[in-house]
């Protein structure tokens, strides 16, 4: 009962957050919705006995992704007039929801073929995850680091202000 009510609350938060996210005009509210969804997701992970995953979710999705998005929003600092004008936003959302609904149903129906009860696996704590990461999943885990490295490099390449490049040599300021 407790589990169900926690689930219900978290699910409400997540759905509300995600709908806030796609509905709002201002990116900052969308980001807040996203934040709520992410924290809710972490809660869900905890509810699924994956404590480590929950913490990792908060650390990465909230601590890195949302902060980074917010920082981008701050850097961009878009004024009202620079935001897209979407006069038929709600119509579009409604329309696409109707289009997407069968897809949702497909995914859900497919999933409900799978076993409909949890197995008692116990807590998936950092020890379990760590052992798996360094045995069965070591290759994906290793190349994930390369993915992050290349993404970082890519982000630097794209995001760097090209005008400042010429001053690079003289810019080594001492601390």
């Amino acid at each position: 009962m407790l589990e169900i009510s926690i689930f219900a609350i978290l699910a409400l938060f997540m759905l509300g957050g995600s709908i806030t996210m796609i509905v709002n005009k201002q990116p900052v509210f969308s980001a807040f919705g996203f934040l709520v969804t992410m924290i809710g997701l972490a809660g869900m992970f905890a509810l699924l006995n994956s404590q480590f995953l929950a913490i990792a979710q908060i650390m990465v999705s909230v601590g890195a992704v949302v902060v980074l998005s917010m920082l981008t929003i701050l850097t961009v600092n878009a004024k009202e007039e620079n935001l897209p004008k979407e006069p038929h936003k709600f119509k579009w959302i409604l329309f696409s929801s109707i289009v997407v609904a069968p897809f949702t149903l497909l995914v859900y129906k497919t999933l409900s073929i799978l076993p409909a009860h949890f197995s008692d696996i116990g807590t998936i704590n950092s020890k379990v995850v760590g052992e798996l990461l360094f045995t069965d999943w070591v290759l994906p885990f290793e190349i994930l680091s390369i993915l992050l490295l290349s993404a970082m490099l890519g982000a630097i390449v794209i995001g760097r202000d090209s005008k400042k490049k010429k001053k690079k040599s003289q810019k080594r300021r001492r601390l």
């Binding site: 689930f7 969308s30 992970f45 995953l53």
Partner: protein, 104 residues
């Protein structure tokens, strides 16, 4: 409690992300929608992990979280770059690519 609720939640979240992706023009919303879709998958994987009684799904979830982070970096750098060039967040305003765009 039944995993069906989790399945439903995950598919709903994925679809909400999809809806956001196809119906909005704001670059930030597009970006967050994609992240939401991936997060929904990660929720699904964690659920499946518990259903199957195997921690592998949780590990995949963890890897997906890493992928989300790396995609976020590139995506956000791109948004900054786009905004710098045209001072707008409207994805429809970036429409220079067509037959006539010949300047290199």
């Amino acid at each position: 409690m039944s995993p069906n609720a989790f399945y439903l939640l995950a598919s709903l979240l994925f679809s909400i992300g999809l809806v956001g992706l196809v119906s909005r023009k704001n670059l930030f919303v597009l970006y967050m929608s994609i992240e939401l879709m991936l997060s929904a998958v990660s929720l699904l994987l964690a659920t499946l992990s518990k259903v199957l009684g195997e921690a592998g799904g949780s590990v995949i979830s963890l890897l997906i979280i890493g992928v989300i982070a790396s995609e976020a970096a590139v995506f956000l750098a791109m948004i900054i770059n786009l905004y710098r060039s045209k001072k707008t967040l409207d994805s429809d305003r970036f429409n220079a690519l067509r037959e006539g765009a010949r300047n290199d």
